[in-house]
Amino acid sequence: MNTINKNKLWSDMKSKYSIYFVLAALFVISWLANENFVSVENLSNISTQIAVGTILAFGQTILIISGMLDLSSGSVLALAGVLSISVYKMTGSLIIAFAVAIITGVICNILNGLMVTKFKTPPFIATLAMMTMARGAALMYTNGQNIYQIGDYVKFGQGKIMGVPTPVIFMAVILILTWYILKHTVFGRSIYAIGGNEEAANASGISVNKIKMKAFIFNGILVGIAGVLFMSRVNGAMPNGAIGYEFKALTAAVIGGTSFTGGLGTASGTLAGAFIVGFLDNIMVLVGVNSYLQQIVRGAIIALAVIYDIWAKTKRTKRKHDLK
């Protein structure tokens, strides 16, 4: 009897925490590969570098858990950032500028949400459309040119509070917020249910459309914040910035155990996924891996991490399933 329990505990741990094992393993390998990896400054850099993508990833996590996704994050963040900086240059007020970014992110995502709930558009298509529209809007507004000399705006992305870079602080706060929402709110439980089985969730009394809209709005706020951080970090409003960032975000979420079939995912898992990619990028540059090889390795690690995670999960449910 005891052996069965111990085995069960070990495989439960393996499946639930598999991604953290991968993260830890990667950390150790990187440490051995280059001593500069573990310096405080390097780790701080990595955290700053992944901050924007990870903030987007938290939004994706909420969406994917509920059975949706967002292909427009990169474009919307560019639009939000560009408008925000432009407003800052006009008004001189950081607060108004920050608000503009958030409002832009929210409006674009409300549109996403309406397409999905009112017009029954699959989220893939709806956010794909928004991806092109938002990018076009950003380019149109700036005539394709970058806006420089943004003055104090840089403080958002390049400042430090008690030695911690501001993007990392934003990331940490949003991590806690996402975790809190998933665990301690009715909204959080509802999105797990909707993603797990939308019809059953509906038949259990959950207001599916309302929750979906809320999920997009939350995502919109995060995308707006990401826009501010991205532009202030590159010290300019770049309508072409952050192309492909939605895929960075999806990658982190998926590696972190957020399942595309819906109903599964965690905030800490996504953070782990983001760090796995961040560590990998960093160590490959430190070690001097050829650029093309880097891309191959990146893709391979993503595939491996996800396969391992799925395998670990399948083993757990398969075993119990056969006890019928």
Partner: protein, 333 residues
């Protein structure tokens, strides 16, 4: 039932593709005379096919061309966006041929991919100019370009005397397979690295012309290297990104840096003494040359022209005039 619908759709799709790619421009309609045959016209229609609107340099160039074209009464300009996609750009060239433009200006996404379509345009009797980067070796076509090899070379040549002995440098490259990126890197190799074999490259990565990617790489390099003496970037965006990382770091206050383009951001950095030099790839000069060439071609003054615009070196000594240039154009307020 559903099956037949799908088949009908596919067949009609294929039919439209086939007819689209078939014969050259249809013959003139009954009664109307071909415009070229009637000699001088009041207004000439010019199609400008940009490689992409999302590329900030391409956007700069397109805007400059539009502004320049406005100065000519006899030129009506239409701008098209190739969306950084060969198929799209080729399709646009064909459309322009069908719509019987007098002049087609092509800024290729990939010269070899656009070559056959440019040749088609020339064969249809339309005047064609290729630019940034020119497609060389097309009989009867004109070109206006800046030479990326030269753009990098003007920096590399001065770097020979500026970069200290046994220096550590980092290199930031443009997208792989990009003609400009490759030519510039090639230029640095031949004009600098082959001649200064004492210099060590401690980091070289592809930052895809992007500022944020360059920043990430520089941050990591700063971790791994105590001494970095110069930043060699294939464009100003990436150089600015690398500089952004070390701007408050006293350890790197004497670092040298080189770029290409002469963007507003770069000239400001040079003025502030933070960036060493760049070379101007003036979209304004390109636009002026393009419209001038267009005018000469349509009025028959010239049959075929090839122009290279200058790529002057911009450094602390001469930066002011370029700041003025950007101010006049509104890029610097």
């Amino acid at each position: 039932m559903k099956k037949w619908l799908v088949i009908a759709l596919i067949v009609s799709l294929m039919a439209s593709l086939l007819t689209g790619c078939s014969q050259p421009a249809p013959a003139a309609q009954d009664g109307a005379k071909a415009p070229e045959a009637s000699g001088e016209k009041d207004v000439y229609r010019v199609a400008y096919i940009a490689r992409a609107q999302a590329d900030s340099f391409a956007a700069w160039l397109a805007n400059a061309v539009i502004e320049e074209a406005a100065k000519y009464d006899n030129i009506k300009l239409d701008v098209f966006d190739g969306q950084a996609n060969d198929d799209t750009e080729n399709g646009l060239i064909e459309n322009a041929i069908t719509n019987k433009y007098d002049v087609i200006i092509v800024q290729p996404n990939n010269g070899e991919a656009q070559r056959p379509y440019v040749e088609k345009a020339v064969a249809a009797g339309i005047k064609v100019i290729t630019t940034n980067a020119r497609i060389s070796g097309i009989e009867g076509a004109s070109s206006v370009d800046a030479d990326p090899y030269a753009q990098a070379a003007v920096n590399a040549v001065v770097a020979i005397s500026q970069i200290p002995q046994n220096a550590n440098v980092v290199v930031l490259k443009g997208p792989p397979g990009n003609f400009h990126a490759d030519a510039r890197r090639d230029s640095w190799q031949k004009e600098f690295f082959d001649k200064r074999t004492d210099v060590k490259i401690v980091g070289e990565e592809i930052a895809n012309w992007n500022k944020d990617e360059a920043m990430n790489y520089m941050e990591t390099w700063v971790q791994a290297n105590d001494k970095i003496d110069a930043i060699i970037a294939m464009n100003d965006n990436m150089a600015a990104g690398a500089l952004e990382v070390i701007k408050d770091n006293p350890k790197f206050k004497d670092i040298l840096s080189y770029g290409v383009d002469g963007t507003a951001e770069a000239v400001l950095l040079i003025e502030q003494g933070l960036m060493t030099s760049t070379s101007l790839q003036s979209a304004y000069d390109l636009a002026t040359a393009l419209m001038d060439t267009t005018n000469k071609l349509v009025t028959g003054a010239e049959k075929q022209i090839d122009i290279d615009i200058d790529c002057p070196l911009i450094n602390k000594d001469n930066v002011q005039q370029y700041i003025e240039m950007h101010k006049k154009a509104g890029a610097i307020k």
